[in-house]
Amino acid sequence: MSTLTLRQEPPERLDLLNINPLSLGGLSEAEAAKLPVGTSRRGLTLGDCFTIRLDGSDTLTIEGGSSRLDRVGASLDGGTIRVEGDVGQRLGAGMAGGTLTVTGSAGPYSGSGASGGTITIEGDAGDHAGGAVYSAKAGLDGATLVIRGRAGDHLGDRMRRGMLLVGEAGAYAGARMIAGTIAATRVGDHPGYGMRRGTILAGATGALSPTFVETGTHDLVFLRLLARSLRALSPAHADLAAGALKRYSGDLATLSKGELWVAAG
């Protein structure tokens, strides 16, 4: 297992886009130390900020996280990255495969545009987790994003594919969703605003938009399949899917093919 140990809180935001098991695999520790990670005129390199220990394996551990570590695991397409601490924005953005785990909390735009693999955040996530960055066509795009804690506003904004599982989320969860599934114990106001298709499962919600209409309670095979697929990720969410649910259809301002399932009673 290769290890990067953060020496101290970095003086600026660091961009770890190019720091992953594959890119480090063919490098000596001295060569890896010269990789640029700074984002200012300081011109910081990996060796300036981290103690580096490489063994050529496909597992990389980053010890000592920081909210200034941006794009950790971005564009990852294999292997494993584990961060023991916090990370900054765009965790796993554009990721195509592999496993990415953060023991602390993440900044905004986690999993944006990620098309494969599994991202797990054991703490909280910032706004736009699984959401699209500025001018991007889609947010989460096929990957699995698990947030054990709380996510900010705009969770899964313009999400296109994949599974997004979260403890609690803020306002406008699933806004402008194209497709995919969001499961949460609670979401804030106006979930699914402008959603075209897709599924939001929530234990409770804030204020619903008047463009969602209740369509009754249903016992659908789909819900049992959803519960089964959630079981491995979170028994609590699986129990939610297996319980009594009210279905809302929306957003009626758009295609109206989205659905919001909320625990009944």
Binding site: R13, Y134, R158, G194, S209, P210, T211
Partner: protein
């Protein structure tokens, strides 16, 4: 008369420029904020930012990005103020902000003269606007969820996905019946989600009639900035030069966030035209370039303050002209000021470049 201050003490412009050059030459993560100025000053600001590795944080960003985000992802159907005044028989004003703009007086005072609606009466509707009696209009209240939720509900009625005898059903019928409709709004007030929904509504209405959006410009020269940004970097304005190439990232280059999280180490506030002063300006070493005679032209605005000519008043400058929807030159009203913001920024840049050359 020009004025400059360094650490609260009055001095001449040359000494202030030298002090600013000294500050930015050693800064590692500087921020250029405000950017409410004429095109010449904005170009000079980009030049300086490129040399010192600064990021740009325009005061107009909320309005610009609410419109740009939608434009880049879903497209937009827009018209110009002149076309709206000449052709619209129905004008829908969304929110409060447009009611303070001269354009609303212009369009309320005229009738459609061209196109399908020529000669008919012009109706003005308000969605969530103030209930003042200055301009005759029909008012529709906003939903408790705010403008974005109200626009969504209106769109659902217009699509026929919601039905019933409600105020929004009536409003939707009026939209569909228009010959040439225009919806006027200020993007920063409506927000990105609301703007996208509004543009969707306009596109839906074009299945049955002619309907266009008319987003009003922010009052801080954001539309001038976006053109300078596009022709200089090919990107939108919230750009950083820390790695010597322009990187676009509205979240990372939000100046207030950078200061709050201790990332920025120096700031330049460019506001030769009036704009709100960032409340964080005094929390780090900063330079303010402000219009002469403005309330901020004092020694306590920032560590270094330089008062310059105000474009269109005490100096000439190219500015966004909302009525014409383009950049136009505005001449000085009287005796031109001795110093412009662009000249000050170029002088700071020249001093830094000279210091770098001397150090080699």
């Amino acid at each position: 008369m020009m004025a400059a201050w360094v650490k609260g003490g009055a001095t001449d412009a040359d000494a202030a420029i030298e002090a600013a050059a000294h500050l930015f030459a050693s800064a590692k993560v500087p921020v250029v904020t405000g950017l409410c100025a004429d095109v010449g000053a904005l170009r000079a600001a980009y030049g300086l930012a490129g040399v010192i590795g600064a990021s740009l944080d325009p005061v107009a960003a909320p309005s610009l990005y609410a419109e740009l985000g939608v434009l880049s992802r879903t497209g937009a159907m827009g018209t110009t103020p002149a076309e709206a005044v000449g052709r619209a028989d129905l004008v829908v004003v969304v929110g409060n902000a447009p009611w303070d703009r001269p354009f609303l007086q212009d369009i309320a005072a005229a009738k459609p003269r061209r196109g399908r609606a020529a000669g008919s009466e012009r109706t003005i509707l308000s969605l969530g606007g103030p209930s003042n009696g200055q301009i005759r209009h029909v008012a529709y209240p906003v939903e408790p969820g705010g403008l974005a939720v109200s626009i969504a509900q209106l769109r659902a009625f217009a699509k026929g996905h919601l039905a019933g005898e409600t105020a929004y059903a009536d409003l939707a019928r009026r939209l569909v019946a228009a010959h040439y409709g225009v919806v006027v709004y200020e993007p920063g007030e409506v927000g990105e989600l609301g703007v996208e929904m509004l543009q969707g509504l306009v596109k839906d209405l074009n299945d049955v009639t002619r309907f266009f959006a008319l987003p009003l410009a922010d009052p801080f020269q954001g539309r001038a900035l976006i053109q300078v940004a596009a022709w200089t970097t090919g990107q939108a304005p919230s750009t950083g030069f820390g790695r010597h190439v322009p990187e676009h990232d509205p979240w990372r280059f939000d100046g207030a966030r950078q200061v709050r999280e201790g990332e920025a180490d120096a700031a330049l506030w460019l506001s030769s035209l009036p704009s709100p002063r960032p409340d964080w300006l005094a929390s780090l070493p900063s330079v303010a370039i402000v219009g002469e005679g403005s309330a901020n032209a004092t020694g306590d605005t920032a560590e270094i303050v330089i008062a310059v000519g105000v474009p269109g008043e005490s100096t000439g400058g190219t500015l966004w002209n909302e009525r014409r929807g383009t950049l136009t030159h505005s001449s000085a009203a009287g005796q031109p000021a001795a110093l412009t913001a662009g000249a000050v920024l170029d002088a700071i840049r020249a001093r830094i470049t000279a210091k770098d050359s001397a150090a080699c």
